[in-house]
């Protein structure tokens, strides 16, 4: 079983998101980036499959800038191979363009299973798993967990609202948008990633140019206009606790 895990980085939401002068895009050069948390879940699930069944795991990323460490981290965690798709790319690329480049690479790269995060914080024009499924004409599913692989079909569980779930079996090649791995993503110390970066090689693959296919025209990007903002209680924890108790009394919510 050959598994490709598609990983990307996204703006770190802990920091303030600055807009560029146009007001239609983020000031991408002023932001710091972190691996997309759902891609981390997909990578972990793939590594667990490798440990359980000997699957071969490749981490694949578009070279949108400064992504080497993310790929070295995947190798340090246990991925067998890291593939960097190289081209004239940058972080402003919409998901649809990224998906097309990935689809062109994946179409004949020989993977049985493609796993990626169920969503990303910036996938305004569609989630990568669905886009790839549509472009490649491969079966696909989103909001997936509990993936199992063997010699035959791949099985997985899909989640729905209200805690309902269903288990499916699918032929390969298959694309899965992973919601959560069976275990929390593993941690690797930075020292280990540095060590791997000195000994391992990232496989560079020349990939296609971004296309203008169905690109969305963003007219404006802005902070939500508060429909109503919370009344903020200032002060330390003791003062907030006192305010909360007063509210409970006022609302007759004390048990």
């Amino acid at each position: 079983m050959r598994i490709a895990v598609l990983v990307k980085d996204v703006p770190d939401l802990v920091e303030e998101l600055e807009l560029d002068e146009s007001g239609r895009a983020l000031a991408v050069d002023d932001l710091s980036y972190v691996p997309s948390e759902w891609d981390d879940q997909a990578l972990e699930e793939a590594l667990l499959l490798k440990e359980a069944s000997g699957a071969h795991v490749s981490a694949v990323a578009l070279d949108t800038g400064d992504i080497d460490n993310m790929l070295y981290a995947a190798l340090a965690k246990g991925a067998d191979r890291a593939v960097k798709l190289v081209g004239d790319y940058d972080r402003t690329m919409p998901g649809r363009q990224r998906a097309r480049i990935l689809a062109d690479y994946l179409a004949d790269a020989g993977y049985d299973l493609v796993m990626t995060g169920v969503q990303a914080v910036d996938d305004l024009d569609g989630q990568i798993a669905g886009l790839l499924g549509g472009m490649l004409g491969w079966p696909h599913a989103s909001v997936v967990r509990d993936v199992a692989v063997g010699s035959g079909p791949v099985s997985f569980v899909q989640e729905y609202a209200g805690g309902r779930m269903a288990e499916f079996r699918s032929a390969t090649p298959l694309v899965l948008g992973v919601q959560a791995a069976k275990k929390p993503p593993r941690y690797v110390p930075i020292a280990r990633i540095r060590q791997v970066s000195r000994s391992a090689t990232l496989e560079e693959v020349e990939a296609g140019a971004p296309s203008a296919e169905s690109t969305l025209a963003v007219q404006r990007l802005y902070r939500p206009e508060a429909q109503g903002h919370a009344t903020m209680w200032e002060g330390d924890a003791a003062e907030v606790a006192a305010a909360l108790v007063a509210l409970l009394d006022e609302q007759h919510l004390r048990s």
Binding site: L13, V14, E16, L17, V118, V121, L124, D125, G126, Q127, G130, L131, G133, G134, M135, P139, H140, A141, S142, V143, S155, E159, Y160, A161, G162, G163, M165, E167, F168, R169, S170, A171, Q179, A180, A181, P184, S214, L216, A217, V218, Q219, L221, Y222, R223, P224, Q227, G228, T231, W233, G235, A237, A238, A241, L244, V245, L247, L248, Q251, L253, S255
Partner: protein, 316 residues
């Protein structure tokens, strides 16, 4: 313009509230654009929802129940092609995420996800707003005719009553063998039902460590409340899935929802924004949870919880 296709989803064997919202907006837009609304449902279970859809054309895909992503996608794509759909509306649910992006990509149509508003503009196009970056920013985008949109449930109200009795016609799709359903899994019945609690002490990533859950348990006990949580706490294995509030968990409407260390991603807000009183405590003053909370604070939840427990104990 071609018709507006609305994908019908069920919840507890009836039309889901999110589908009702989509149909409401679809009817308004169809009137503005002099076109029709086509409601598309999967399998016999969708028949009554389709009949009550108020759509101009209600289409039942025969043999597509229970839901299998590949089969439903084939049916939707067939309908989109046959009708030259002017818009395709889906809820931003599991089904919406399965079918939306894939249909858009396969049929060469634009796609807009996480939509919170959709209006017709002069000149033939539409404008949508979408929540991006975990609700920290809103993108306003031009929506060309033919686009596929997944809409966040609860983005606009649904009409209360729709004249029922829409005739339902049946269509068949070619059998799909790539993917098959093995079994459905009913929700875990936890030790408590968080949907029935009057007061929820709900913890998120800000709880930091499973050992700190004891503080939430003690506070809940002092409050006569139940502990619930956001998704990351469940994914970390710290609390069972039955305690999860949000899109893939439970929808709750308690008298008081105390959100501790929860930032308020759209998926979480979807499950709790209709609570009577929401109090949120999060160290990030820009956290989206404060947009829906009635009261908020940015103090340290790990300090707050024991203080509050102590105060409640003293005065109780």
């Amino acid at each position: 313009m071609g018709p507006i296709i609305v994908v019908v989803e069920l919840q507890n064997d009836a039309m889901s509230p999110a589908t009702g919202e989509l149909l409401t907006r679809a009817r308004q837009l169809a009137q503005a654009r002099s076109t029709r609304v086509v409601a598309l449902g999967f399998g016999e279970a969708a028949r009554s929802a389709l009949a009550a859809s108020g759509a101009d054309d209600a289409v039942l895909v025969v043999g597509a129940d229970p839901y299998v992503p590949t089969l439903a996608e084939a049916a939707l794509r067939q309908m989109v092609r046959e009708t030259s759909a002017g818009l395709v509306l889906l809820a931003n649910t599991t089904m919406g995420m399965d079918l939306g992006a894939a249909t858009a990509a396969a049929e060469g149509r634009p796609m807009v996800a996480y939509v919170t508003s959709l209006t017709a503009v002069e000149g033939g196009e539409f404008t949508a707003t979408s929540q991006v970056y975990a609700g920290k920013l809103v993108a306003e985008v031009a929506v060309p005719e033919g686009s596929v949109l997944t809409v966040l449930p609860g983005s606009w109200p649904a009409d209360d009553a729709v004249a029922g009795g829409t005739p339902v016609r049946e269509v068949a799709v070619a059998p799909e063998s790539a993917m098959e359903l093995v079994r459905t899994i009913e929700p875990e019945t936890g030790d408590v039902d968080i949907t029935r609690a009057d007061v929820l002490v709900s913890v998120g990533r800000g709880i930091q460590d499973p050992d700190n859950l004891e503080l939430a348990d003690e506070l809940a006990e002092a409050l006569g409340a139940v502990v619930s949580c956001s998704r990351p706490v469940v994914d970390a294995g710290w609390l069972p899935r039955a305690r999860q509030v949000g899109k893939s968990g439970q929808t709750v409407k308690p008298k008081l929802y105390l959100a501790l260390g929860i930032s308020g991603a759209p998926e979480h807000l979807q499950g709790m924004k209709d609570s009577e009183i929401i109090v949120a405590v999060n160290s990030d003053p820009a956290a989206p949870i404060f947009e829906v909370a009635h009261y908020g604070a940015t103090c340290d939840i790990l300090e707050l919880m024991p203080l509050l427990t102590e105060l409640l104990g003293e005065a109780g």
